[in-house]
């Protein structure tokens, strides 16, 4: 368990975009948030942190994608729950550092729900988070 303070970068219609270094710091306080974090998007992230806390959108790091695409495994799980999610390329942002995901990150992978909201590969994480916010607000 980590106890970091999240930075809120945007608020609109009861939804927020928040930045965290680690997905493990997600709590019930993040209900209805789009969380942009420095974590990988491995299989444990969706069931252990994102889904139980009512997070509405997630952007993390693809961790080089790695063995059996493990670095982005949570994207599919989240799509199955109707949650938009995307990962930034590990060469575009420093893993473990949430502000780097948000400020430097370039999207490498997008799940089906996020695609429908207009999130695409090559887009900045900032723009992707805005698209999610707009998409969820509709």
């Amino acid at each position: 368990m980590t106890h970091e303070i999240h930075k809120v970068v945007k608020e609109s219609g009861g939804l927020r975009i928040v930045i965290a270094d680690s997905a493990t710091s997600i709590s019930e306080a993040n209900k209805n948030d789009i969380v942009v974090d420095g974590s990988h998007c491995g299989a444990n992230i969706a069931p252990d942190y994102v889904l139980p806390n009512g997070v509405r959108g997630m952007i993390g790091n693809d961790a080089g994608i790695g063995m059996e695409n493990a670095g982005i495994a949570s994207l599919k799980t989240l799509a199955e729950h109707g949650i938009p999610a995307a990962a930034v390329s590990s060469m575009s942002a420093e893993i473990g550092i949430g502000p780097s995901t948000y400020n430097d990150g370039i999207i490498s992978t997008v799940n089906e729900v996020a695609k429908k909201m207009g999130v695409t590969t090559g887009m900045s994480a900032k723009e992707a988070a805005d698209k999610m916010l707009a998409g969820i607000s509709k």
């Binding site: 992230i45 790695g66 780097s100």
Partner: protein, 138 residues
């Protein structure tokens, strides 16, 4: 929440496996912590804060500015042996995969002195670290 599994004990030292470095806790002080997390800066902070005896994580493809292994140098500065497995050898986010499948890609200077080297299995590396810690009796 991150679960933890004790794999092995030698003297008063253990090898603890967890999907996430967030499973680190002071109750594992002095133990070998093997996890599925990247070895980014925040994981270094957790390792040092919780006084782990040693740490093995995933290199997350190294990534931008080698952020995926930033913790290794930080651990060196605190005399903590640490190593990372290649993202292509183990599934990030899955601690048991780090332990069972992982191949060491990078070891920090402290771990190197204990005999941990690139190309070694994570299991063998963890055993070396456990033996060294048990022997030190610190």
């Amino acid at each position: 929440m991150a679960g933890t599994t004790i794999i092995k004990q030698l003297g008063n030292r253990k090898i603890v496996v967890a999907d996430s470095a967030a499973g680190m806790d002071e109750k594992f002080k002095g133990d070998v912590f093997v996890d599925g997390s990247h070895c980014g800066q925040n994981v270094g902070e957790m390792t040092i804060h919780n006084k782990m005896g040693a740490m093995i994580g995933n290199d997350a493809g190294m990534g931008k500015n080698k952020a995926g292994i930033a913790a290794l140098k930080m651990c060196d500065e605190h005399g903590i042996p640490a190593a990372a497995v290649a993202a292509m050898s183990a599934k990030i986010g899955d601690g048991m995969s780090t332990y069972k499948d992982g191949q060491i890609s990078v070891a920090n200077e402290t771990a190197k002195k204990i005999g941990v080297s690139a190309g070694m299995s994570a299991k063998e590396a963890a055993d070396k670290l456990l033996e060294s810690l048990a022997k030190s009796g610190k």
